[in-house]
Subunit: 333 residues, 2 copies
Amino acid sequence: MSKNRMAVIKQRPLDVPSQDDFAVVAAPMPTPEPGQVLLETVYVSVDPYVRVAIDDRTTTLFGAAQPLDTPLMGKTISRVVESRSELFHPGEHVMALSGWQKFAVADAESLQKLDPDVAPLSWWLGVLGTTGFAAYVGTTQVAPPAAGQTYVVTSAAGATGSIAGQIAGQRGARVIGIAGAKEKCDYVVNDLGFAGCVSHHAEDLVAALAEQCPDGVDHSFENVGGKPLEAVLELIKPGGIVALCGVIGSYNQANRTPGPNLWPLVRIGASIRGFRLPDYQHVREQFIHDMLGWLNAGKIKHREEVMTGIECAGEAYNRLMTSNSAGKIVVKL
Amino acid sequence: MSKNRMAVIKQRPLDVPSQDDFAVVAAPMPTPEPGQVLLETVYVSVDPYVRVAIDDRTTTLFGAAQPLDTPLMGKTISRVVESRSELFHPGEHVMALSGWQKFAVADAESLQKLDPDVAPLSWWLGVLGTTGFAAYVGTTQVAPPAAGQTYVVTSAAGATGSIAGQIAGQRGARVIGIAGAKEKCDYVVNDLGFAGCVSHHAEDLVAALAEQCPDGVDHSFENVGGKPLEAVLELIKPGGIVALCGVIGSYNQANRTPGPNLWPLVRIGASIRGFRLPDYQHVREQFIHDMLGWLNAGKIKHREEVMTGIECAGEAYNRLMTSNSAGKIVVKL
């Protein structure tokens, strides 16, 4: 009997994913061809874009939705078990796209080698991976604040928002978060150094945000859509840019919720700029350099929630999509 | 009895304006102070932004809504009747902001002199005025197409859209319009030289637009919001920009309709850029130069609908907001 197992999509979630949507099945042990390596998955990343990729009701990032009964996609940190390439040796660690399977093969040339002495391996899926890179691109390329400007980050305690706000702070901006629960607001102000934070449960969110942003909002980083974005648009200043990293608020829906009325953009002369990371690979090296510097200097803090076992796909995606995680979710297989 | 009369806001329209929302009243004859001129209004311009400015239910361009019983605002072409400034002489024509009143005074320094030999005077309210300038800024500054690119213009037969599409065409773009009635589509293709046009009444607007834009949409010019914008976002390409000139579709509403879901911006890496003309005064002279060149060479066509009499404010704004006009509406007082 093969040692290999994978978590596959059993049925397409119609709303927030649950345990019933995924099944763990036995799988044949893959065999590397010349130029390939056999990988054992150590960590798999839990990311919002995957929720989009497994839905067949709307346009995805990838064209067609991921087929049923195939292993759930995901970036991984993997250990080389067997190598048929000069590029890697058994025992080395790589960043791969193996998804939710215990063993996988990959072309050696598609893999990025990781040095465990540089940073804990799981960080390459979070603050040093897609999560941190999205925050970096949004705050340095798409909507970079100047020193002294007011920068609003929605979903401020989330894995991406928390990093985005801290990077904007490193650039000298006065950062105001929007988050849900009081403890999340306390966290971003007290632990992450945001200048202020507003709960999106506030009765009059625009008024509450205006109190924290008396001169208006210069730019913002947006990951969710919905009421917080509407409030930002009411206060945005001429030339203001909303860096739109995602609209997580609508990923679970068959008919995506409408967005904000766009009149504020015309009234004031402001923009919403969607972005995707493949278009910013030219700054990835700089990102790694900057982020390692900030992490090593203790200037940027991040949290990780490590779940365990290939069986927890449903639970992990449920936590991600209900904003119940305390930081970046990674799963240790 | 004074010869002066003005059209004032009697009650705030709750939806599309009607004749009942305005009243024509007698007014005292104004007297110019030193440095001022007395103007007689020849033409007043009918523009969507005025609909926003007279509504007190939402944020306007101007802060508070225009007070009741004051003359409806509007750009005018006016004739100098009496001058207490060296800058102007009686009989000269100027562009002013007198609004819907027969006579008005203005500071001479706030006025722009017009040469009736350069172009018919009313054109300075349309193709050479705000309407044409909005089209120019959108297509040359905010979302300028490169030669060969596919450019979509919604409200394509409208006063602004028709000019925007023709400017994009002058830049070498392949221009596709979205309009309502079949005769509007015929007009933009047969008379204005658009490469194609789709009716927004099409059962599957995305499919109909995709047929006209087989390689996707590079940029677009948007003035309305609603379904046509949603269709454009489904087809927009990486780096694509929607130049957002207005969201006329929601100007009559107390609770502005929601906008499009913003996922397409993230999926593909595209932007919606609102703009306002005061931010582009530095290109106004170039605009006049370019537009006069195109007009004189017969490269850009435009239509004007001249209504007559100060009593027609309600009818004029009704026609504007129901898209029933055949071109730029100006009113001859």
